[in-house]
Amino acid sequence: MKKNKLVFMLSLVLVLALVVTGCASGSKNESGANNNEFRINLASEPPTLDPAQATDQVSFTVINAIYEGLTIIDENGNVQPGIAEKWDVSEDGKTYTFTIRSDAKWNNGDPITAHDFEFSWKRALDPKLVPKPSQYAYQMYYIEGAEAYNTGSGSVDDVKIKATDDHTLVVTLNAPTVYFESLLSTAIYFPVHQSVTENEAFAAAADTMITNGPFTMTEWKRNTSIVLEPSESYYARNDIKFAKVSFTMVNDSNSELNMYETGKLDYAGYPTGALPTDQFASLKEKYPNEFQIKGTASLYYYLINTTEAPFTNEKIRQALSLSIDRAAITEKVTLGGQIPAYGLVPPGIKGVEDEYRNEVDDNYFQEDLELAKQLLAEGLAEEGLTELPAFSLTFNTNELHQKVAEAVVDMWSNNLGVNAQIGNEEWGVFLDNRTAMNYQVARAGWGADYNDPISFIGLFTSKSGNNNTGYANVEYDALVSQVDQSTDAAERVRLMAEAEKMIIDSHSIIPIYYYSTVYLMKPDVKGVYVDYKGDVIFTRGYYEAEAE
């Protein structure tokens, strides 16, 4: 009896101790400010940290912090000098001469030279690159000779990238490309140390990685965590305030939110993680100073297969587009601060002076039920039909896509009496079918590759591999090639607006909304932002208390 009592008391004490310590540690670690540590979640393991090989946002998020290109993009989407302190552009807009900072260093202390860039860019274009050719090498095809070398028909010697001395890099382009400077801030143009030829697997572990960015990777536990610390040899070391950036790898939106709420994360949500969509509204109320919505330069849209009857008929396509209540979708279905879209180019993309979308209004069409009904009737009559045959709206398996598709199909049914089915497909299957034009109406999404409207306008040329609608218009192609040849900002915007109107008026695509990025961030974190294309940038972040 006595013994039992003792055991009972002991357990009680243990449990109490647990409760007390548990509570204490919970409230102490509310923010990473104590250790000056920024903690953020990645929904998956970065498949690679070799800038020439990366293709996904998780990899880019880490790469952007540990490498730096010739230019960087600031919070407002403007190009700023990075490893290049300045550059000159020739009169014809085709030749760029970059001057590399004399104080730029790799994290092993070696100076960064123009030769490193020549080496790295040619490496990214190398068709024999191991373990595989770069998937994003085509982002370098603007450089003279690049495409020929990359596709095996030209020599590396004809690629017009030349380091004339340690600090001067001369690059010649095929055509003037006004967004080339913006492109230089993307991973494919980042430098890698020349010693990588001895160890092509350098980017697979923290201890073999030689990088040149604001941060250095100090730890990489597969599928578990990544730790970054400021690089002591970075030229702007004093601008880097976080003592540590820690990534966890949790692929569950509820768990991520729970981590944030228990003070294990300083940033939760998109683009690297996720928050439960159904809790957006309550989170906004609960954390008014922490819940953030940032418009993102990406478009959510539906493709119409214009090669298949009856969708060959423009009026029928138009009827489908005009009968969708986009505001209802963003306000009642997606709930993440998305903006109804009536154009192709999202906000956040530069125009002449301001954002393109502010300079060129996207009022190409308006939702109009009466007109939609009338157009449908006319279109059907033209096709010799009495009613629209049942068709399917296909999307890749995803809760949000499903909700949007259900809402749209419902609107078509109620507004036009049209019978459409929704069909979800596994990602790979979906992409295959879409590329093979084996669909009727399909979901699509597009994000900016660089800060210029042509990143979107260029999609619908007849040669584009991402057109997928069957839309082919010589006038459109001509406009796009005129844009490509021009260096005059105002003229380019005018031409692009003309092209945009043309593709939207053809109703080959149904724009639904412009994306937004939703996240929670602790209120004392400053200088961390989501950029125009939806990447989270934390390299210049700091904690408020520390700055005072």
């Binding site: 998937q135 768990s255 228990t262």
Partner: protein, 328 residues
Amino acid sequence: MVAYIPFFQHDMEVYKQLVRYVIKKILFMLLSLFVLASATFFLMKAIPGNPFQSEKNIPPAIQQMLMERYGFDQPLWKQYITYIGNLLQFDLGTSMKQQYVTVESVIKNGFAYSMQLGVLAILVSIVVGVLLGLVAALNHRKFLDGFTIFIAVLGVSIPNFVVASALQYIFGVQLRWFNVTGLYGPLDYVLPVIALSFLPTAFIARLTRSSMLEVLSADYIKTARSKGLSGRVILVKHALRNAILPVVTYVGPMTANIITGSVIVEQIFGIGGLGKDFVSSITNRDYTLIMGLTLFYAVILMIARLITDVAYGFVDPRIKLTGGKGGS
């Protein structure tokens, strides 16, 4: 039939039988693995898509280079022969998505977590399950019995992701007793292990209870009681030993289930186990990883089956009667 064979000779016979049985099973396993490897290979190749796909299509020339680099431009039978050839040399290859990461190291890293959690969950299930079952049986038709049955029904009917989320919310977010994710210290194992062992514990409790009830009413227990043996001796030496047999046979499939089925629990608690890789490998069309993990899981399942079969042979009442008990 075999009752008159001298004891040692009989024992040899049993072991020979056992060895023959195991060899036969292993050969059969190898054959099954081969069939499985082939079927998975062709099924995987039959699904549309490839490892280099994304929302943004890459130019056909680059796509072509990638296909050539990995030999996907070869006829399927050639790819199959290369694959089987590598397999015979125990070469599972390198992941196509995670660069320079061998399938072997993915398995090593991931399985370490799955294994730790799995073994703990199995131990917890057996100990707690048997104890609960015992308590219930000994308190037959009393409150504790009803209560245990209630818990057991709950355990069997609530899926483990609900259990995991609920545990995380109650003990992680509300009470803050544990970290919500990660495996940083011993305490972090508590919630995932409970979530993983919830169902098997309930199942074992029910198994133990019903077989215990059956055994307790058997004649030999009544005999033992009438001989005046103490309650504890009867319970441990006679009743429990026999009542636990069905539990032993369940341990095999349970082990396989827990170790291979921890996917969702690992996801919720942010544990970098093998389940995570298995699911993503399919979405990514990471062919080498799909094949490697499928085969690995198959081997685990088959070994668990084999152990169960052998254990079953050992605890089979016939062998018990003619062998073990014959001596005493």
